[in-house]
């Protein structure tokens, strides 16, 4: 799984249980909403040296967290870190479902912590790190293999007829219909929830994964792109599009409504008929530069 130094989440490690924060009863800030408490059971992991057998490297810690209407899972985790256990480690940034940093597995399903209302999860919440990626610490996983697979599918416009590097500042012509062909797939945050939910990724560490494959389709479907054949060659290999079993869990967990499962089936269809269709496709032309004119007013 990419980084050998990190123990895999399902590595058969001994777990311990610790209780924290039962004395905490209220948020320090008054929100004016009716408050209650949930039990947050959080997976903990420390990357201990191999010869250190003094403590188990994985455990579950339980925290009592006061919540009110609108409290998100991320708010609850931040509360734990600020008030109960500052050593709890997790990623977050924007807090509004845009950056895709705070992906976790909550009660067995991948979610963005910032978009998940605690009240929707019940009174007992189990939070685990994302699956199929190596652990770094607690809820933080190593995204390196995920990013590398994304890079493999050339996630950028490929043009052999125009030099798009350096000081390129022109636009390509694209109609609204052409935009709609890929717009849904352009919403991907790269949060990794689909990668974690994918059953093929669970057993095949070389599998490109739903995110990278959906990204490949996003550019193939873009009328401005001229690299369809190159990308089809990449996804038409072993451990790529044809390894997808169409479980659909990737599309189910996507917080932005992207449908990677559909994209992968489209890639399969394109791979089968690529010689006939893709060779005839010409990428969009450049938009003509507007003529410079002097405003008479």
């Amino acid at each position: 799984m990419g980084n050998e130094d990190h123990s895999h989440f399902s590595g058969g490690l001994t777990l311990t249980e610790n209780d924290h924060g039962s004395e905490q009863s209220a948020l320090s800030e008054s929100t004016g909403n009716e408050q209650s408490t949930v039990k947050l059971r959080v997976f903990r992991y420390k990357n201990l040296p191999k010869d250190d057998t003094s403590a188990p490297s994985t455990s579950f810690d339980t925290f009592q967290v006061p919540i009110s209407n609108g409290t998100t899972l991320l708010d609850a985790l931040i509360y734990v870190k600020e008030k109960l256990d500052p050593t709890l480690t997790f990623r977050y940034s924007c807090r509004m479902g845009i950056c895709g940093s705070c992906g976790v597995n909550a009660n067995g399903k991948e979610k963005l912590a910032c978009k998940t209302q605690v009240k929707d999860l019940g009174e007992n919440i189990e939070v685990r790190p994302l699956n199929n990626l190596s652990l770094i610490r607690d809820l933080t996983v190593d995204f390196k293999p995920f990013i590398e697979k994304n890079v493999k599918v050339k996630p950028y416009l490929v043009r052999n007829d125009v030099d798009v590097d350096g000081g390129f500042n022109r636009e390509f012509r694209q109609t609204p219909d052409e935009l709609n062909q890929y717009l849904m797939f352009a919403n991907c945050l790269m949060c990794g929830l689909c990668y974690s939910a994918c059953p093929t990724n669970a057993t095949d560490e070389l599998y490109l994964g739903p995110q990278a494959l959906a990204r490949a389709y996003r550019y193939i479907a873009d009328s401005r792109d001229g690299g369809q054949l190159e990308r089809i060659e990449i996804v038409d290999q072993e451990h790529a599009a044809w390894s997808c079993h169409f479980a659909g869990s990737c599309s189910d967990v996507c917080p932005k409504g992207v449908d990677p499962a559909f994209a992968i089936q489209q890639l399969k269809a394109l791979a089968l008929r690529k010689q006939g269709l893709l060779k005839r496709k010409k990428p969009s032309p450049l938009v003509e530069r507007p003529r410079e004119s002097v405003n008479p007013v």
Binding site: E238, A240, W242, S243, K268, A271
Partner: protein
């Protein structure tokens, strides 16, 4: 070879197995007027000798579909260049032996081999 070609073969052989398997079942169950008559040794031999070429085709489809499918399953469970190469060659050898043994059997009931 590209995965799309291999998977197309996998799908086509699957359809072929469905079609020829149905024919196989129908012939061996109902040929010659009813099930009891169809399972008589002479009826079975008659079906085999009449449709020998189809049986060979059935064997080709089955061999490809089973062993390529099995290879894919094994390569999803574990990865590595050496492992995948070993699995591929193991499937080629076992699949080849299965095909040759099946062909030998068909040639025997066709009377070509004794």
């Amino acid at each position: 070879m590209r995965q799309s070609r291999l998977m197309l073969l996998q799908y086509l052989t699957g359809l072929g197995i469905l079609a020829l398997g149905s024919l196989h079942f129908a012939l061996l169950s109902f040929a010659g007027g009813g099930y009891s008559n169809a399972i008589q040794f002479a009826s079975v031999l008659s079906v085999y000798t009449t449709f020998g070429v189809l049986f060979e085709l059935f064997l080709v489809f089955l061999t490809w579909h089973i062993f390529y499918g099995f290879r894919r399953v094994l390569c999803e469970l574990h990865q590595g260049r050496r492992y995948e190469s070993t699995v591929t060659w193991a499937m080629v050898i076992i699949g080849g032996a299965t095909f040759l043994w099946g062909t030998r059997t068909i040639l025997i009931f066709l009377g070509v081999l004794h």
